[in-house]
């Protein structure tokens, strides 16, 4: 098997792909920039301004019983106050619920998204998407209270349990109830990005994989999962980050046993009327979430590099047998 003569095949010549610069390019980019203005304004007023306000409050204090905050004297005192053993304890519990909730969402969401994107005929994909989205569009609090009713000792479930002689189950106000509630509430946020990633995948790639000798599982491992990674990453973030700050689900379903750090922040603003301490807690919570996300991003990156290294194919430039 010898290589064909390279000079006889102009099809091989590489085009640089860089054409002459169009003169209108700069002006064109300006117009595109203008299109991003609404989202820019939105970001400034609904994210940056509130964030700066909270950051500013966190350096102040609560001067008296009837004043929520004051920035007359600036200090880091609220941060010291916020870093109490209770905060760490609650944060650890929150992290536990959020991490396991996110993982459960991934384990449930991936098969659903895969089924929707790959197995379901395109005719019914819109319907399936609707079935995922419609509950999500329902008010968050209403959905959660729905679970409160279902899990309460007066519910249909409890009736069945009593009639079967198992007694009244203790479901509500447990961390299990909170876990169930968060998985239920955040599952669509996992399914949607996974569906988008899997739907975009060219299904012929799986045929190519089988054609090259890989069985269905190998194709899933080496083609489907890597191509779904952006969707997996987006889903993990979309579920984990809001879940860490959630206080409605634990308030409605958790009682004291399932309290999460979001509830602590909310209670400082609402019950204790201590906006300075609440702001400091909020800032700490944000930093902690950021740290967790960064640590996991680094871990995934390292795993990716290791896999890449293991699977590397070195095309050696030796002369033996090669006709390059």
């Amino acid at each position: 098997m010898t290589a064909l003569d390279a000079s006889s095949a102009p099809g091989l010549t590489q085009s640089s792909g860089i054409g002459p610069r169009r003169t209108g390019a700069r002006r064109f980019r300006w117009n595109v920039g203008l299109l991003a203005l609404p989202i820019g304004v939105w970001l400034v007023f609904f994210f940056i301004v509130p964030f700066v306000v909270i950051l500013w409050y966190s350096f102040g204090d609560k001067p008296s019983l009837y004043v929520t905050h004051s920035n007359d004297t600036l200090s880091l005192g609220r941060f010291a106050e916020a870093l109490s053993p209770v905060f760490f304890q609650t944060f650890a519990r929150t992290l536990n619920i959020a991490a396991s909730g996110t993982l459960i969402c991934l384990l449930i969401g991936f098969p659903i998204a895969y089924w929707m994107a790959v197995k379901l005929s395109p005719k019914y994909q819109g319907l399936a998407l609707g079935l995922v989205l419609v509950p999500y569009w329902t008010n968050f609090l209403v959905r959660t209270i729905g679970w409160q009713i279902t899990l309460s000792p007066q519910s249909f479930l409890a009736d069945v349990s009593r009639n079967l002689g198992f007694g009244t189950p203790e479901l509500l106000y447990t961390s299990g109830a909170v876990q169930l509630g968060v998985v239920y509430n955040y599952l669509p946020l996992m399914i949607l990005p996974l569906y988008v990633a899997l739907e975009r995948m060219d299904h012929r790639l799986l045929e190519a994989s089988r054609d090259l000798g890989a069985n269905a599982f190998e194709g899933f491992r080496r083609v489907t999962v890597p191509l779904a990674l952006p969707g997996i990453g987006a889903g993990l973030l979309l579920v984990f980050v809001p879940l860490m700050g959630d206080y409605i689900t634990p308030s409605v379903l958790g009682g004291a046993a399932g309290s999460m750090v979001g509830q602590m922040v909310a209670s400082q603003f609402q019950t204790a009327q201590n906006w300075a301490l609440g702001s400091a807690m909020a800032i700490l919570l944000m930093l902690a979430i950021l740290a967790v996300v960064v640590v996991f991003a680094i871990i995934f990156k390292v795993i990716g590099m290791v896999i890449d290294r293991v699977e590397r194919v070195n095309v050696l430039d030796d002369a033996k047998g090669s006709a390059a």
Partner: protein, 377 residues
């Protein structure tokens, strides 16, 4: 890859086969709903040949290829590859590889990883993989792009990688599903020649699906012209071009002038047909038996038609008006219209006495040997 030993088939499944690379389809049918995509198809592909399945879209050529590859299972009939029956085996257990229409390169893997993908499943030791991948890439002259990602490659380069990825596994049979449809014309013509040379060097059976008759003519040892889920004619490019057995095949391979009329006379090696305004004579055996007085189609290739100003010699001539004339590289394409409304197309070199003005009265003529007559169904 200089040694011939390396091109030998080393697939476990075909270890005892007497004819590696031979593909036999017998009585193969595939139904989609109530419609036959492929109907009672018999096809014997010889080991080491370059065969094209040619036909319009929907003729069953891609379904046939997918059944050989294992992506579709036949409803009836059997398929054997290298004399091993395998119509029920999944794709990953067959000694065939495919070059897909849109290449289907794994977008998340480098060129080298794409090419190496199948080697692990063929139990190629890791130490040998780099060499095999390098050789395959050298074969398609893409070794310098081993570390690129598919998105960074042009269409032609991607096609070469797809070819290397399939051939690195040393399949008994390579299936190609319209692999050149995404390339521009010039690149396509170069790749056709290259692919043919490569196939000759490797001696691997190539099954090539295309709707482009020129592509099939350029590369194939044999062409199977398909229509409506069946093979209408199978033969060498010359056979299919010179002696098409049906009007369908005649129309699909190269250009044809078709005239419909009724059979006036019929004999063992000749026939004549009356068409509006003329009687056309053939000296060739008809594609299929003719019935005197029955409807028939007369086929004449444009390159066999001569255009002159006055009367011409020979049995077949029609007076017409010159409608258009275009210079197509080395030849002229002339379109004429008769008083009875027949359109005649000619492809000819420019002759001195040839009329060239639109509206000129001309005579189109051709020999009896260049005419084939088909009964009209």
């Amino acid at each position: 890859m200089t040694s011939t030993a390396e091109t030998e088939i080393d697939f476990k499944t075909v270890e005892h086969s007497t004819a590696p690379g031979r593909v036999t389809l017998s009585g193969v049918s595939k139904l989609y709903g109530k419609n036959y995509a492929v109907q009672s198809l018999d096809l014997d592909i010889r080991a080491g040949e370059f065969i094209s399945l040619l036909g319009p879209s929907g003729c069953g050529k891609t379904t046939t290829l997918r059944m050989i590859g294992g992506f579709e299972y036949p409803d009836e009939g059997s398929i054997s590859i290298s004399d091993v029956v395998m119509q029920d085996l999944p794709p990953h257990k067959r000694p065939v590889n495919t070059v897909f229409q849109a290449y289907a390169l794994f977008p998340h893997m480098s060129v080298a990883k794409n090419v190496a993908y199948g080697l692990g499943y063929a139990k190629v030791p890791k130490s040998e993989m780099g060499q095999r991948v390098g050789d395959a890439l050298a074969m398609v002259r893409m070794k310098h792009l081993a570390d690129r990602m598919p998105a960074q490659l042009s269409g032609g380069q991607q096609q070469r990688i797809a070819l290397a990825r399939a051939l690195v596994n040393r399949p008994s049979v390579l299936l190609l599903d319209e692999p050149m449809s995404a390339l521009d014309r010039k690149l396509r013509e170069e790749m056709q020649i290259e692919l043919k040379l490569l196939q000759q060097q490797l001696g691997t059976t190539f099954v090539f699906v295309t709707h482009d008759q020129e592509e099939a003519m350029t590369m194939s040892d044999r062409i199977a012209v398909m229509n409506g889920g069946r093979i209408e004619q199978i033969g060498s490019p010359a056979e299919v071009y010179d002696s098409p057995t049906t009007a369908n095949v005649a129309g699909f391979i190269g250009q044809q002038n078709f005239f419909t009329g009724s059979v006036e006379n019929t004999g063992p090696v000749g026939a004549s047909v009356t068409v509006p305004g003329a009687t056309l004579v053939s000296a060739k055996a008809p594609g299929q038996p003719l019935v005197k007085g029955g409807p028939a189609t007369v086929a004449v290739r444009p390159e066999n038609v001569t255009v002159t100003a006055g009367d011409a010699a020979g049995p077949n001539q029609i007076s017409a008006t010159l409608m258009s004339i275009s210079q197509l590289g080395s030849y002229l394409q002339v379109v004429m219209l008769t008083a009875e409304g027949l359109k005649v197309m000619a492809r000819t070199n420019r002759t001195v006495d040839m009329p060239t003005r639109i509206g000129d009265a001309v005579t189109a003529s051709w020999s009896a040997e260049s005419v084939t007559i088909y009964p009209t169904a």
